[in-house]
Assembly symmetry: C2
Homo-oligomer: 307 residues x 2
């Protein structure tokens, strides 16, 4: 195979109670990338559609992730990448992770899959480091593995795929303001109270148990974040209203997607996810905030070949 086209999903990181460890992949939102083998060494980004992003490999997350892969490979050629960038950077649904992941997953396919999923996560994390100064894995892991993933540990990196109930849908609304991940990390505190910690690991355990047991009610009861949400939500227009209305419309839970500004809600069934979307839309329309909105099944496959 000389050329491959891939779909790389948008992802929701943190998922309320799983700050820096939990993420999930979306099904209907993502970038499309075409990657070709080239005789020339290195990475060349030949085209970017949809967004104004750096074409130099060393300054582009897909390029940097690809270079990390190349550095560990004995392949003596290179790759050319075209990116159809459908996820807006700074939206909080894993824009950089999708491009990083798509690049390294496609390259691995073209090379006959010499690298494991865990290694691909590590390469893609180099793209994350470029994007936000921190090589976090909570977006790239679900983009690679699909479904929900838990980053149990960073050193050593240990990714645990968690089963996804089949009727779980996400609604994500993206108010058209940009928050840089690096900025939204700066406002976080470096200490938390023991009591907040206990609540958080109780909820994280409850969420994981709910996912394993298809217990939608338990999933909902566990979707709380007493640590990061109260701080970061201040940066997001009408966060409290969007969340309250989503819950009123039937969502199991709602919170900040990644570092925001997108707000997600999880629902049982597509019908409820659509009603949640309507309630979110109305909230922003009433106060004249522009937005994008997505309704998506939780994707259990992750990045995939589409041509």
């Amino acid at each position: 195979m000389e050329k491959i086209k891939v779909f790389c999903p948008a992802t929701i990181a943190n998922v309320s109670c799983g700050f820096d460890v939990l993420g999930l992949a979306l099904d209907s939102v993502g970038d499309e990338m075409t990657v070709r083998k080239t005789a020339d060494k290195g990475i060349r980004i030949s085209k970017i559609i949809g967004q104004d992003l750096p074409m130099e490999a060393e300054k582009n997350v897909a390029g940097v992730a690809g270079l990390a892969l190349l550095a560990k490979s004995d392949y003596d050629g290179g790759f050319e990448i075209e990116i159809d960038k459908r996820i807006k950077p700074g939206s909080g649904i894993g824009s950089s992770a999708a491009s990083s992941t798509g690049a390294v997953w496609a390259m691995n396919e073209l090379l006959g899959n010499p690298f494991s999923k865990l290694e691909l996560v590590q390469f893609a994390m180099e793209g994350e480091k470029l994007a936000s100064d921190v090589a976090h894995a909570d977006n790239v892991a679900p983009a690679i593995y699909g479904g929900f993933t838990l980053v149990r540990s960073y050193e050593p990196l240990d990714i645990i795929p968690i089963p996804t109930p089949s009727e779980l849908y996400a609604t994500v609304i993206h108010p058209q303001i940009e928050i840089k991940t690096s900025d939204s990390r700066k406002i976080l505190k470096t200490t938390i109270s023991m009591q907040q910690g206990i609540q958080q690991w109780g909820n994280l355990g409850g969420l994981v148990a709910g996912l394993f047991q298809n217990d939608y009610d338990l999933i909902g009861r566990s979707l709380h974040d007493h640590i990061v949400e109260p701080i970061r939500s201040i940066l997001i227009p009408a966060f409290d209203d969007i969340k309250a209305n989503a819950l009123k419309a039937g969502a199991l839970g709602s919170g900040i997607s990644g570092s925001g500004p997108s707000i997600f809600a999880l629902s049982k069934g597509e019908e409820t996810a659509k009603q949640v979307a309507e309630s979110m839309k109305k909230t922003y329309q009433n106060i004249a905030v522009d937005f994008d909105i997505h309704i998506s099944k939780v994707n259990s496959q992750g990045v995939k070949k589409i041509a």
Copy 2:
């Protein structure tokens, strides 16, 4: 039924990564209690074998838990309790929880089970409050439900039973020193670093996933406590050696049982649990520390009728 005899299991709370939320029940260690209906109202403790404990209901954890149940019941009689106290108070394996649990579970049986398991946990928590000033649920929950339990939330109280892999065995060594739960709580910090929190909820999620998947290796990788163990272990003779030798002998993980001083290890299979016990014994024999030691399957049933 006018009289019942029950076995109430010892329990391991915290289980390394689940401070204040996780617990598990043992199979071969526990108190035995006989409870009889009486025409006289209130609770009378008629006999305590094995330990020197208060006979007044208001000063005894079983009595206090029983009184909490009576206060919510329309039963117009009372109960007489005999306690064969086999778990040493202050050992860190849920001595007070076993007596509190046994009392309320037995009374509920004698009354035809008017109360749910969750309500029984709440009554038994009153006994815990008497014992350690804090109405914690991480010992009483596994004593009532059996297996592993997660206290997802205290307000409202939400107990999540977690499945227990069938080959999971606990080894518990109890050095003959007493640490009061209330004292061992005092030395804890009231804040933790965000980084410690992230490690902890990553591990808690990993442990829950490992238990659901019968993934013993993942269970082992998740049994870490970077928050409480470094502080409390200072109070326990040769903690680091006991733990290191248990791991060398094949344990999946090891840590402080509850607030100590008991040290637990979890192993796959009884044979390994016995080897771990040998290594723990030798460590204390070498430095002349007296101890009790227990090897037990993780009990999936909890408190039960034995006569």
